[in-house]
Symmetry: C2
Subunit: 209 residues, 2 copies
Amino acid sequence: MPPRQDPPDPIDAAWQGEPLRHFAPALRDAARRVEVSAGEVLFRTGQQPAWLHFVVSGEAVMSRCDRDGRCLALQRARGAFLAEASLHSTQYHCDAHAGSDALLLSFPVRALRSAIDGHEPTRWAWIAMLASEIRRQRSNAERLSLKTVRERLLHLLVTQGDNGRLPLAGTRKDLAAQLGVSHEALYRCLATLSRDGIVRVDDQALTLL
Amino acid sequence: MPPRQDPPDPIDAAWQGEPLRHFAPALRDAARRVEVSAGEVLFRTGQQPAWLHFVVSGEAVMSRCDRDGRCLALQRARGAFLAEASLHSTQYHCDAHAGSDALLLSFPVRALRSAIDGHEPTRWAWIAMLASEIRRQRSNAERLSLKTVRERLLHLLVTQGDNGRLPLAGTRKDLAAQLGVSHEALYRCLATLSRDGIVRVDDQALTLL
DNA sequence: CGTACTTTTGAATCGCATCAAATCTGGTGG
DNA sequence: CCACCAGATTTGATGCGATTCAAAAGTACG
C-alpha cells in the first residue's frame, strides 16, 4: 500500500524557509496559527502592537489612507513578516488587512524580543530579514523613479526575476499597481513587448528573451 | 576671561545622536575618523565589506549604474549609516562615493557584529535603525507612486516635514532628484504653490501654509 | 572677470491617466 | 446546462502633466 499523500502543510514549509528556520524553539511554541478571510482587519493606526504576523499563504496588505479616501499600499506581504518595523513601536502607524484569505503565523512581540536578545540565530535572522527588506525597498524606489512603464517593467524583470523569468503572483492589474501605473498602460506595454519579441507573456510568468 | 569658544565637534555631536549614543564603548574605540573629498569612491560592487560608514557631515551616495551609463541613487546618507544592509553581506551589491566633501565615522564590521551580539543597547539601536530605514523607504515608495509633482512635494512636506516645515538640505535640483522629477518641473511647481499661497519658499526651508 | 552651476522661463513633444466600451473569464444560482 | 454577474483583459480616443531641449539670468568662487 503506497503511503498516504498528505498535502504538504504550508506552515511546516514556512518553518523550513527564511527567516523562520533560524527561530528559537521557544518561538515555535509561542507562535499562534491564525486564519483570516479576505478583507479582515489585522490592525489599525494607533493600536499597540502585541503580535507580529508572518504571512504563510495568501496576502496581507499594510496601507495608509489620506483624507480624500484614497489608499496606498505600503507593503504587500506574501511569505514574509507584515510590519516588521512595529516590533519596537508603541503603536502602529498604518492600517493592515488581509488582501485575500490568508494563513498567518503570529508571534507575541514580547517573546520575539526576548528571542532576539537571547538566541543568536534568531537575532541574526531578524537583522538579515530587515536588511533584505531595506534592499527590496531601495530597489522598489529605484524602479518607481523610472519614467516609463517599459523601463519599470524591465527593471522588475531584471531585479526580481529569476534569470529574466518572473512568475506572476496575482493578476496583471495587481502588477500594474505594484509598478505604479494604470492597468491599461501595463496591458499596452505587455502587448508591445510581446509583439516585438522582447518578453514572452504567458499565464504563469513573464520571461525576458 | 571667558572660556574659549571651541567650534562644536561634529563627531561629538554625532555620538550624542541616534543611533550612535547607544553604541558600546568598545565601538567608540574601534571607530575610525575618515575624511573624504567629493567624488571619492567609498566602495565598489563585488568588494567585501570591511567597514561600515556613518556619515557625520556631508553626503555619501550609494548608486547603481546600468550599462547605458545612467546611474540611479539608491541611498543618499546624511547623518546616517551608508549601506547598513551590507553588515552581513559577503560583498557589496552597489557602488558608493562621496557626494560632497564628507566626514565619516567608520566601524569595523567585525567589531560592530560582536557589539550587536554582546551589548544589548547597541543591538536594539541597530535594529531600530534598520526598522526606521524601512519606514523611510516605504514612505519614499509611497511618494514616488504619486503621479504629479505637486502631490509628491506635498506628501514630502507632510511626512518628512516638521509640522509642515522642511529644511532644504541641498539644492532644489537635489530635491527634484529625490522626488524623481525633472528640476524644471519642480521649479514650476514651487512657483505655482508659492504664488497660490500654499507653500512658503525661502532659502532655508519649505513651509506648508 | 571668467567659469561652472543653479535657477528660471518658454515651447514642443511624448507618454500616461482617464474615460469609454467591448470581450473574455470564472464562478454562482436557477 | 444556461443565464448571469463581477471582475479581469483588451482596444480606442482624448487631454493633461511631465520630459526634453533651449536659452537667459542669477550666483558662488577662484
